[in-house]
């Protein structure tokens, strides 16, 4: 870590942002290294967008410091804006302009010359599979096309750092996959990426390092590899029980001291063990109390487990919440 710190492109220290009484971002510190794909993972309202807004200059921090590429941006965010590309969570291009004109206009904001920006716009449209829609108005694009064009607009000036705010939320699986591929390619070509997401698998697949943010606080930052390490050797299983007896949890704990057994919700148990979990005796024990096993599922070690352990947030609840929001917006 020590040697890497000279290499850090974004350095945030004790950043805090309040909206009246609400503390949206609460004393967070982190670094993003050059060439890295850093994931910022957290549920709705955790403070992800607020953090991006402060880093890019749309929001003013109440306290703390921000350094981007060695420039102190806490007081003057304009200093580093030429190094930054931003893809906001909502597409905010001009509905009345065509895809091509939108890209050319965005390029001009960064001072690119006419010839250069036209070439680059055509290039990106091609690369993003939007050439056929180049001369159609942005207003008529589908959600996935809008998202792709918004990403193209974010990288048109070849920024060193790209901020992506939930790039795959609210679009179908195929488009989301394409977009993930585009992000991976960008990262391979050397762009440093700051990505927010609530899709844990997305973070696991794309990112090298992840910061978990919950209610404005960073609860853990680490590389994906070290996050997964402690659970790699563990076996996890979730058992759902119909008509569970009141004392079932206690009974399971006393009968199977070798397992750690946790009551996740009514009738749902999470069983973690160092050794392989033997399901037969468990089922028998449950049935003795009059319960009925409706589902038993082994869980492959994933960041999901880590996330649940660290944040204590049950994942299904978070996903449902998100889908609701995704649909309505």
């Amino acid at each position: 870590m020590q040697s890497k710190s000279n290499n850090s492109l974004i350095k945030v220290r004790q950043l805090t942002k309040r909206f009246d009484k609400l503390i949206a971002v609460n004393d967070i510190s982190f670094e993003v290294f050059k060439g890295e794909l850093f994931g910022f993972l957290g549920p709705n309202g955790a403070g992800k967008t607020t953090t991006i807004n402060m880093l890019t200059g749309l929001a003013r921090p109440d306290s703390g410091s921000i350094e981007i590429s060695g420039l102190d941006c806490s007081k003057n965010p304009k200093l580093a804006q030429h190094l930054i590309g931003i893809v906001p969570d909502e597409s905010n291009l001009y509905p009345e302009l065509t895809g091509y004109d939108n890209l050319c206009f965005c390029a001009s904001l960064y001072g690119m010359r006419k010839h250069e920006r036209e070439e680059r716009a055509r290039d990106l449209l091609e690369k993003f599979g939007l050439s056929d829609a180049a001369n159609r108005k942005f207003a008529g694009y589908s959600k996935g096309m809008k998202r792709k064009l918004t990403i193209a607009a974010g990288i048109i000036h070849r920024p060193e750092i790209l901020f992506l705010d939930e790039p795959t939320t609210g679009i179908d699986v195929a488009s989301a996959r394409q977009i993930r591929q585009l992000i991976a390619n960008l990262h391979d070509s050397g762009t440093t990426i700051f990505l927010t997401t609530h899709y844990i698998e997305e973070a696991e697949r794309l990112c090298q390092r992840i910061g978990f943010i919950v209610q404005g606080k960073i609860v853990r930052i680490d590389t994906v590899i070290s996050l997964l390490q402690p659970i790699q050797k563990k076996h996890t299983m979730v058992i759902s029980v119909l008509h569970p007896d009141e004392g079932l949890h206690h009974k399971l704990i006393s009968e199977f001291p070798e397992y750690s057994i946790e009551l996740v919700s009514k009738g749902q148990f999470r069983i973690v063990s160092e050794k392989v979990i033997n399901i037969g005796p468990l089922v028998r024990c449950i049935e003795e109390t009059g319960g009925e096993v409706s589902e038993a599922r082994r869980i492959r070690p994933s960041l999901e487990e880590v996330f649940v352990n660290i944040t204590g947030i049950e994942l299904n609840a978070m996903k449902k919440e998100k889908q609701k929001n995704g649909r309505s917006s």
Binding site: G57, Q81, N92, Y94, P95, S108, L109
Partner: protein
């Protein structure tokens, strides 16, 4: 250089997307023509009155041509979030806002010449001081654009911007000596006239068209310039305070 590429393209984009749209062009033309016609006919004094009405009609054409544009180029873009793109670009806020207002200023200045061209067919305008006239038209365009900007950044909905600008525009027609001299206003209203920038613009216009100014032109000019700087500075401050949260 890079900044000027941005400046020029913001201006050009607004022109293409908003100003040169048929409804705006037709409004820009119809409005001044309608005002001109209405006043010339209504005054009933025949063609002789054209010269005395001209300053007021020119001022109205500019006022209406500029103020309504900012509700679109600023308030609307802020509402649909595309304005954030501009705030995120490496352009100083001051230059950005100049780019966003230049289109309206240009549009307003051009509007000023519609009544003048019409009048030139109907009356003798040979002893007009053209230098002062053009200067006045530009200054009125700048002042009323910045007034529109001030309103546009103080509200968050387009309809609020429109309501609010009418709240300013209509009283200004009467308070700024467009058609009646300020001296004929009730004494308690007169201080209001003097805190409105249009008063000074109209005075320059009067001076340019028939030497009817009540104050020295250079003083008018300095005061209206002061208003422009003040309105722009307050608007920038408001953007900083309200939009960069």
């Amino acid at each position: 250089m890079k900044r000027w590429i941005a400046f020029w393209n913001i201006l050009l984009k607004d022109m293409r997307a908003y100003y040169l749209k048929p409804p705006n062009i037709s409004w820009g033309l119809i409005f001044p023509v309608a005002w001109t016609g209405m006043f010339f006919i209504k005054s009933g004094k025949g063609l002789d009155s054209i010269i005395s009405l001209l300053p007021g009609v020119v001022a109205i054409s500019i006022l209406f041509g500029t103020t309504s544009m900012l509700a679109v180029t600023v308030t609307f873009e802020k509402k649909n979030k595309s304005f954030d793109r501009l705030l995120l670009a490496p352009i100083p806020l001051r230059l950005l806002m100049l780019a966003k207002t230049s289109g309206a200023i240009l549009f307003g200045s051009i509007n000023a010449f519609i009544p003048i061209i019409i009048a030139s067919f109907l009356a003798d305008i040979s002893h007009v001081n053209w230098f002062a006239l053009v200067l006045a038209a530009i200054m009125i365009a700048i002042a009323s654009t910045f007034l529109g900007l001030f309103i546009a950044v103080s509200v968050s909905e387009v309809f609020e911007a429109q309501t609010f600008s009418n709240f300013f525009r209509f009283p200004m027609i009467f308070l700024c000596g467009l058609f009646f001299p300020i001296t004929s206003l009730p004494i308690f209203l007169r201080p209001l006239s003097y805190v409105l920038p249009l008063t000074y613009g109209v005075d320059i216009l009067r001076g340019a068209i028939d030497k009817g100014n009540i104050m020295p032109l250079w003083l008018d000019f300095l005061i209206i310039l002061g208003f422009c700087v003040l309105l722009f500075a307050i608007s920038l401050k408001n953007i900083h305070k309200r939009w960069i949260m």
